[in-house]
Chain length 187, copies 2
DNA sequence: GTCTGCATGTAACTGGTTACATGATTAT
DNA sequence: ATAATCATGTAACCAGTTACATGCAGAC
C-alpha cells in the first residue's frame, strides 16, 4: 500500500496531474518506489473515489487538458495514520542472487559477465547518488524537516548501492579465482 | 521469472514435492527469493505442462500422498539458458524509505519507533546470517562449486543487512538529534 | 516529415498474497 | 482434548507490467 502514500506525499508537497506525478517519480521518490504511469493513473482514480484527493479538470490551450489533484483533509489524515502504522520489513528479491546460486548448473563465465554488468550498473547509480548528495545537500548537518528526510533516504540509496557494488566485486573475485587458480599466483 | 528457476535449482540438487520445496524455501534460497506454498504449487503445475519437470505421484501410508518432481532434460536446458541470459537489476522497494520521506507529514516519534524496530529486525537477521557463515562455512577460502555459490549469496545477505542496520541507525541519530538538539550538548 | 513532449486512457496479462478447506498422524 | 506436521488444493483478490491507442504542439 505504499504507492498510494508515496503519491500522497508527493501531492502534499506540490499538487499536480498524473503525468506530472509519473515524471516526479523518475527522480527522488522513484529511486526507492517506482511506478508506471498506468499504475499511477489507476491508483489516483481509486484515491479520488476514497476521498483522499480531489481532482479538478484543467483545460489548456496548445496542450491536452489535464486533471490536477490536491490532497483532501481525509487524505492528510490517512497519510498521518499510515506513517504511524507499523510495517513489515519487505523481503529481498534479487534475481542475480538466484543466478549466482544456480551458477553450477550453467555457464560460469556467463554468470561472471552478468555479475560484472550488475556491478557496473550499481556503481553508476552510486556515482549519481553521490553527485546528488554533494550538489543538493552540501551541508547535511544543518538540514531539518523535509530536506533532512530527503537526504536520509538518499543516504539509504547510497548505502544500498555501495553494498551491492562491493558484493558483486566479492563474487567476481571468488568466481574468477576458482576458474583460474594457478594463474593467480604466477609472477 | 526467477521463481521457476529457483525451483529448478532446488529440484536439480534434490528432487521433492511442492511441500518440501516450500519448506526448503524457508531457508537458503528463501532469504533472497521467497514464495508461499500456493504460488509454488501453481508454478510447479505450469512447469510440468512446459515439460521442465516430471511429477510422479507417491502413495504413502500414515501420511497424505504426495507428488515428487524431478527436473527433465528440457528443464536443465532451460535453467542453463536462463543463467546465461542478462537480467535487469531489479528496482528497490522499501516502504520504510517512503515513511522516512513522509515523516514531516505525520508523527516523527512514530517514525523513529518504526525505524528502530526495523533496525532491530535487520540486526537479528544479520546475526543469524553471521552464525550461518561461521557454522556452515568455517573455511571459505577452500570452497568451490555449489557450496561456494551458497556462501557468496549468504555474503550478499550479510552485506545487505549490514547496510540496512547501519542506515536505520544513521536515520535514528539524525531524527532524534533534530528533535532534542540542545539536550545533546548538556553535561 | 519525423521525432519528442504533453496528457490520458483501455485491455490483457503476470506474479503474488490471503483466506479457506480437507483429512490423516503424531506429539503434548 | 488439542495442537502441530504433512500434503495439496480452490477461489478471490491485489499490485504491477506490457502493449496499444489517441491526438495535438513544437523542434529539428
Amino acid at each position: 500500500m505504499a504507492l498510494e502514500h508515496a503519491l500522497l506525499v508527493s501531492l502534499t508537497e506540490r499538487f499536480g496531474s498524473g503525468y506530472e506525478l509519473a515524471r516526479r517519480f523518475d527522480k527522488s521518490i522513484g529511486f526507492f518506489w517506482s511506478a508506471t504511469h498506468q499504475q499511477i493513473y489507476r491508483v489516483l482514480r481509486r484515491m479520488e473515489e476514497l476521498g483522499w484527493i480531489d481532482g479538478t479538470a484543467v483545460t489548456q490551450d496548445g496542450r491536452p487538458d489535464k486533471k490536477v489533484y490536491r490532497v483532501s483533509p481525509a487524505g492528510s489524515a490517512e497519510l498521518a495514520r499510515w506513517i504511524a502504522e507499523p510495517t513489515e520489513p519487505g523481503k529481498l528479491r534479487d534475481e542475480l542472487a538466484v543466478k549466482i546460486r544456480a551458477a553450477a548448473h550453467g555457464d560460469i563465465a556467463a554468470v561472471c559477465a552478468e555479475v560484472a554488468r550488475h556491478r557496473d550498473r550499481h556503481a553508476e547509480r552510486l556515482e549519481l547518488y553521490r553527485l546528488m548528495e554533494k550538489k543538493d545537500f552540501p551541508a547535511p548537518d544543518q538540514l531539518s524537516g523535509t530536506a533532512l528526510h530527503q537526504y536520509l533516504v538518499l543516504r539509504g540509496g547510497i548505502r544500498v548501492e555501495e553494498g551491492f557494488t562491493q558484493w558483486c566485486q566479492e563474487v567476481l573475485d571468488a568466481l574468477e579465482h576458482t576458474r583460474t587458480p594457478e594463474r593467480q599466483r604466477r609472477p
